[in-house]
């Protein structure tokens, strides 16, 4: 320690006098020096003597070793029983040099086989913060990291955002290694590959790319790798941080990178030539390329009979159109084109609307905005207060507002139907909720002409999107008859199983490398 301080002072003096001094290699490269004391000083300095940084010195037959780890990250049963104890019991005959100690750890400790060599302080921190124990040996310029992770993580439970009647009840958890094992269990093929990388300058978050060799397009894989490597964020705490970097147009209303919490869904997607990205710390995996039609596909579809699955698909498509267009079309028709309704219906609507002081467009905007407030409140509030929100919502909107003459019953019906319909396709909720309001304004100001303008914009918005060179609207447009067997309808498994779909081979797909990747 004293010699280290002397060296630091000398370097400081030299820099003041602008003299060239050979700077300690630790300052530039942080490589291990082999001097256990110096290395430990460096490590403690770097982590600011953090409370959770643990170190334990041990004399192994005359050779000093130090075991470093992070508190709470290590398995408290495996480490002492299978590593500490065997090391303590070593005799002097068995280990004569520091390298012998290293060889003993590498070859004799069989309980744990996840062993990595470490050479720098950065590597040490990366491993110990991932639940490894790093053993530094006096006289050796490398250490050994032993995977004895024992940190607590949420147990595997049913995914909350993708609810199914049939199918597995397992959803991804926050621990990346557990998620990888869940995927591996479902596809016992050596072609299923996982590639690890670290993203986040400070967080060094583990990110894993999953794909099937021989099925995935090599160009697509290179593009995904390249885009992930270009990310320069300080922290990556959720897969949503990476999502905009994988999208072709991050400002588009629709995302062409999908997410899933289900390992079975992920396996099904990568079997079609897609690439999945798993991020440590979040149960939401990313899937790319992602197409518009996939928003209407659900794992349950493949577990039911094809006629029922087809019926459910139609219900989903109808729900999407209802959720996005119904309020705007209702406002447009009632305000500008009442002649289209049957007489009985128009008389009923007119009778209720005459009592309402607000224009129909304002009424529609008001009720939908109130609904969004209640929805957001329902998401964020603590569970014990759930009853209060339900009562307020039911009474305020369902009864009191109608009785007070602020809202008409047909409008309440329209907004309720719209709200329910928007939850049938939860992945599209964001664009639906925004476009719904836009269509209300367009319908209320310009009638069906305004609705037509809005639909045109929406259509071009969707049609212009590509997901890694695959048209977002494929296989609907550009049309691909073979692929349509799993879009509007769900063909039987006898047909689906015959020719597996590959996303790179859809009509119009043109997966190619970007300028930067070439």
């Amino acid at each position: 320690m004293f010699q280290y301080v002397k060296r630091k002072m000398a370097a400081h003096q030299a820099s003041k006098q602008n003299k060239k001094v050979s700077v300690d290699p630790i300052e530039t490269q942080n490589h291990l020096t082999g001097n256990l004391t110096d290395d430990m000083v460096t490590l403690r300095e770097k982590c600011g003597n953090s409370t959770d940084f643990m170190s334990n010195y041990l004399n192994v037959s005359g050779h000093m070793i130090c075991m470093v780890a992070e508190e709470g990250m290590v398995d408290s049963a495996i480490f002492p029983n299978f590593i500490s104890t065997p090391l303590r019991e070593l005799s002097e005959d068995e280990v004569k040099t520091p390298d012998d100690v290293y060889q003993f750890i590498e070859r004799k400790i069989v309980a744990v086989r996840n062993l990595k060599d470490v050479y720098t302080c950065e590597e040490i921190f990366t491993y110990i913060m991932s639940g490894f124990v790093v053993i530094l040996i006096e006289g050796l310029t490398k250490g050994i990291a032993i995977g004895v992770q024992g940190f607590k993580y949420r147990s595997i439970s049913a995914p909350e955002t993708e609810v199914n009647v049939r199918g597995s009840r397992e959803g991804f958890v926050e621990a990346l290694r557990i998620n990888i094992s869940m995927v591996r269990r479902r596809m016992k093929s050596p072609d299923l590959r996982f590639e690890m990388m670290s993203i986040g300058k400070r967080s060094h978050t583990d990110v894993c790319i999953a794909y099937i060799e021989g099925v995935v397009s090599p160009v697509l894989l290179r593009e995904v790798r390249h885009k992930l490597k270009q990310i320069e964020l300080d922290e990556v705490l959720e897969s949503g941080y990476l999502q905009p970097f994988l999208e072709d147009n991050p400002h588009a209303f629709f995302s062409n990178v999908g997410t899933t919490e289900r390992p079975d869904t992920l396996v099904a997607k990568i079997s079609e030539g897609r690439v999945a990205v798993l991020v440590d710390g979040t149960p939401f995996a990313l899937i790319t390329p992602y197409l518009f039609a996939e928003n209407f596909q659900n794992f349950d579809d493949y577990c039911h009979k094809s006629y029922y699955a087809t019926f459910v698909r139609f219900v989903k498509y109808a729900s999407f159109f209802l959720a996005i267009f119904l309020p705007g079309v209702y406002v447009a028709l009632s305000t500008f084109h009442p002649e289209i309704f049957a007489y009985e219906l128009i008389f009923n609507i007119a009778a209720t609307e005459t009592k309402i002081p607000l224009p129909l467009m304002v009424e529609a905007l008001m009720i939908h905005f109130i609904y969004e407030i209640m929805r957001e409140a329902g998401l964020r509030m603590p569970a014990p207060m759930g009853h209060a929100v339900s009562i307020v919502g039911a009474l305020v909107i369902g009864d009191t507002a109608v009785s007070a003459g602020l809202v008409s019953p047909p409008m309440v019906l329209v907004s309720a139907l719209t709200a329910i319909a928007s939850y049938v396709v939860p992945t599209l909720y964001s664009p639906i909720s925004v476009f719904r309001l836009i269509f209300i304004v367009l319908g209320g100001t310009m009638g069906l002409y305004g609705i037509a303008l809005g639909i045109f914009f929406l259509l071009i918005e969707i049609c212009a999107l590509n997901s890694f060179g695959v048209p977002y609207l494929a296989p609907i447009s550009p049309f691909s008859l073979k692929a349509m067997r799993d879009v509007l309808v769900r063909a039987s498994w006898r047909k689906l199983g015959k020719n597996a779909l590959n996303i790179a081979k859809l009509n119009g797909a043109n997966i190619r490398e970007g300028e930067e990747t070439r």
């Binding site: 049957a342 447009s477 049309f479």
Partner: protein, 363 residues
Amino acid sequence: MHTQKISGRQFIILLYICRIFTIMIYNPTHGVRYVDGWSIWEHVLSFAIGFLLLIPAFLIYKMEPEKNVLDLAASVLGKGHIVVTILYGAFLALVSIVTIVDFNYFMTNAIYPEVSSWLIVISVFLLCFYAAINGLEAIARGGFLLLIVLIVLFIALSVNAATEVEWVSLKRIIDNRPSSVFKNVFLNLSENVHLLGFLLFLPMISGNPQKHAVWYLGLTEATLALSCFLVISVFGEYAKDLSFPFYEVSGVGRLFSMKSLGAIQMMIWVFVSMFRVAFYLYATAYTTKGLFPKHAQEISLVVLGVLILGASLYMAVQVEIMEPVFSWIMDRGLLFIFVFVIPLILLIMAQIKKGGTKHAAKN
């Protein structure tokens, strides 16, 4: 500006949608179709002559599949190709302007008489401009979806109007004169500006050009025939007194509990118009991008867009003055010059040049 290849099917659908715009805005005051009688033969003749008009386009494609008529002009005329580019660009810009003005005329006369023309023109233009920026591929993909809606519309209109059909109105088919048939053929082909698509975009289209032409001409003529049949069989002699006869067809009959399909038809025609405007905006920018310096080619669409918007706004307000001018320009066979005459001259010049080069090489 995106220049990705599109499939032949998408190309045909796009041209088809552009073509049937004519049905919506057809007004008997500047056409003869419903006045002097209609014959199925005019569609058969239009199909045949239209195919013959495309022969220069097929020959250009056969000569060099990666080149269009402008590239041919560049290789034959050298710097003189700028004149050809300007001519084609101006014609395409005129089509865009005429489309916007006709659409505005339809909307402000049939649907929203109280709405300002400026609102209609600006709103349509802005969205079509956005579509043109996104490229031909985006417009073509959307066109396929619109085609499905159009098919449903035509079926619904046919079913809706079926109860109102008077077969006796069709006796004029037997009575009409050959001269009116040829007149209608000439008018039909003059309106078919979309044949220019074969001259400009074939290098971007995959598949056999002749097949594409057959499909395009067949589908459009069949649709025109159906629309004429519906109008004449439902309205008879009264058709010539209607401002927008095909739009009026949607007002007859009753489909389920809906009393009138007019509002829905209007909405669909809005889509058709916007696709056509977007396509021609893109075509104008694509054609004239070579006139701009390389570093400024991306803004060619913006510059042309501003000019087209300005011209459209002026002409929409002055439509009573401009309408005869448009009719004179568009209905006098100007298209034949662009589709047939100019490409044929360029082909002959290319052959002469090629022959001269071979002769020089031999010597």
